[in-house]
């Protein structure tokens, strides 16, 4: 097989004009329920003082992190990082919508789809990408703010776009999940999708790790050891066919 792919979004906030065609394209592609979205364009509004005003629009989506906390939180592997290209995807047939991944994502890039009851998020339109197309949001972006492609391919649009440019990853001191979104200008927005904030694990999750797992291990190991000891004692003692009923 050829070299593994390493897909990334390369986004230039300086080129985004907040037309939100990408949000429409995404919704059309995925039929996301009203009130929920897989992608965002964030802004903190006008900055500076008149007449030196500026406003930045920061497109964002799931960053398909190299160290995805959501994948670590999933108890079954229903969400996973795809080996061959690094996309973080959800097996909807396996997902039971427990929401541990939703809570674990420091970008809050995931949500529980109200129609399917499953975890949902940007899947980088993997079906389009596999067919050689761009994700819907990228394909529709008229300003070229959103780019997508394989960083391992030096000829890809993303490789060419970042060549010789400074790139900014949406990380903070507290959270560095190695997000695979490279911003070509600083993503100056306070939204959590670019300013990741860790959240505490859910009580049920902590209970499972701290109480459930040790308790069950102890009980099963204890029961097994107990019957093993009794069995060995029984073998050493031997049986008397006339004694027992």
């Amino acid at each position: 097989m050829a070299q593994k792919k390493r897909y990334a979004f390369v986004i230039d906030p300086a080129r985004c004009i907040d037309c939100r065609a990408c949000l429409v394209a995404c919704r059309a592609e995925w039929n996301t329920p009203p009130g929920q979205t897989r992608i965002w364009v964030h802004t903190d509004g006008p900055q500076g003082t008149f007449p030196n005003l500026s406003q930045t629009y920061v497109p964002a989506q799931c960053h398909h992190c190299e160290d995805p906390w959501c994948v670590d939180a999933c108890p079954t592997g229903a969400t996973f990082k795809r080996e061959e290209d690094g996309l973080v995807l959800i097996d909807e047939d396996a997902c039971i919508g427990c929401g541990l991944c939703v809570n674990a994502c420091p970008f809050q890039a995931r949500f529980r789809n109200v129609q399917t009851g499953k975890a949902d998020k940007c899947s980088a339109c993997f079906h389009r990408v596999e067919a050689g197309e761009m994700p819907a949001c990228v394909a529709t972006c008229i300003g070229g703010a959103r780019l997508f492609g394989d960083l391992n391919d030096p000829e890809s649009t993303v490789s060419q776009a970042i060549r010789g440019r400074a790139v900014y990853r949406p990380v903070t001191d507290a959270v560095n999940t190695q997000p695979m979104t490279l911003y070509l200008s600083p993503p100056d927005a306070s939204a959590v999708q670019v300013r990741p904030t860790p959240r505490d694990p859910l009580v049920a999750e902590t209970f499972w790790h701290a109480v459930g797992l040790p308790l069950v291990k102890l009980a099963v190991a204890g029961a097994f050891a107990g019957q093993a000891a009794a069995f060995i004692a029984q073998l050493l003692k031997g049986e008397n066919e006339y004694e027992d009923a």
């Binding site: 079954t76 047939d93 049920a204 109480v211 308790l215 004694e243 009923a245």
Partner: protein
């Protein structure tokens, strides 16, 4: 158990007796339950990712997932068999075999004083202590078995409820998502504690020489009188009393039929039917 001072003749006489400990309903339900555990436990453990919840090795996840062709078909299969398991158990207990299981629960689950006394001695004896303390007589099930039965009932209900929540997760609104979140650890813990019990249950029921009669009785339904007398004295005595009462009734009925002039048959007291009443 072997402190009973029985003469050789008494032992042989007891050995020659046969008592019915389990009716077919009980036997079928037991083996269906055991079979379902054999299917559901390995598949369930393969659903839980070993990497995230280190209980089974990742290799087991990979192996079973490969057998089923992936995680989603494995989960679907586990959920489908789980529902069949629940349906059959509930059908048997509350509909199909209710005449057997409801009296069965009444006579075989309620703890009495002898059961508690037994519990305070027998566990120590298993570790070589209190060897000379006599054990109080036990009913069809001893104190330990009765307590275990509560764990089984509560654990099975817990597994069923949490399993159904996870299977029908899409019907649960996000505001009640905590139900799904708590179902996962509770399902795991219920299975884990029952598994610990099952390990003991299998050893004691099938391998331990003193209880070998119990193992075969789960196929034939029968135990011999010596086992019943030594391990379940109260039950043995009740069965003997029931048998005597029935024999007495039968004898009087025969006598009544031999003298047709008197309508005596109508005045006979109602005899207990040991095949139904009390489940024993």
């Amino acid at each position: 158990m072997s402190h009973e001072k029985l003469t050789l003749e008494q032992r042989e006489a007891l050995r020659g007796q046969t008592l019915t400990k389990h009716y077919l309903a009980n036997i079928l339900t037991h083996w269906f339950n055991a079979f379902s555990w054999l299917l559901l436990l390995p598949t369930g453990l393969a659903i839980l990712l070993g990497k995230a919840y280190p209980f089974v090795p990742q290799a087991w996840n990979d192996f079973v997932r490969n057998v089923f062709g992936g995680l989603a078909p494995l989960i679907q299969w586990h959920a489908v068999w789980g529902q069949i398991w629940l349906f059959v158990l509930f059908f048997n207990v509350f509909v199909g075999f209710r005449k057997y299981f409801i009296p069965f629960a009444a006579t075989r689950m309620l703890m009495d004083r002898d059961d508690w006394k037994w519990l305070m001695i027998r566990p120590f004896q298993m570790f070589g202590l209190m060897k000379n303390r006599p054990l109080p007589p036990q009913d069809a099930y001893n104190g330990g078995q009765k307590l275990y039965s509560y764990l089984v009932v509560v654990g099975t209900l817990m597994i069923g409820v949490t399993g159904m929540i996870m299977t029908y997760h899409h019907l649960i609104p996000t505001s009640l998502q905590w139900l799904i979140q708590w179902s996962m650890p509770l399902h795991f813990i219920s299975v884990g504690l029952l598994l610990a019990g099952i390990i003991i249950h299998v050893y004691m029921g099938a391998i331990m020489p003193e209880e070998r009669q119990a193992f075969f009785s789960m196929f034939s339904g029968k135990v011999n009188g010596l086992y019943a007398y030594l391990h379940h004295r109260k039950w043995y005595e009740r069965k003997m009393a029931e048998k005597a009462a029935w024999e007495d009734h039968y004898r009087r009925q025969m006598e009544a039929e031999e003298t047709p002039a008197e309508p005596a048959a109508e005045m006979l007291p109602e005899a207990p039917n040991p095949a139904i009443a009390g489940g024993d």
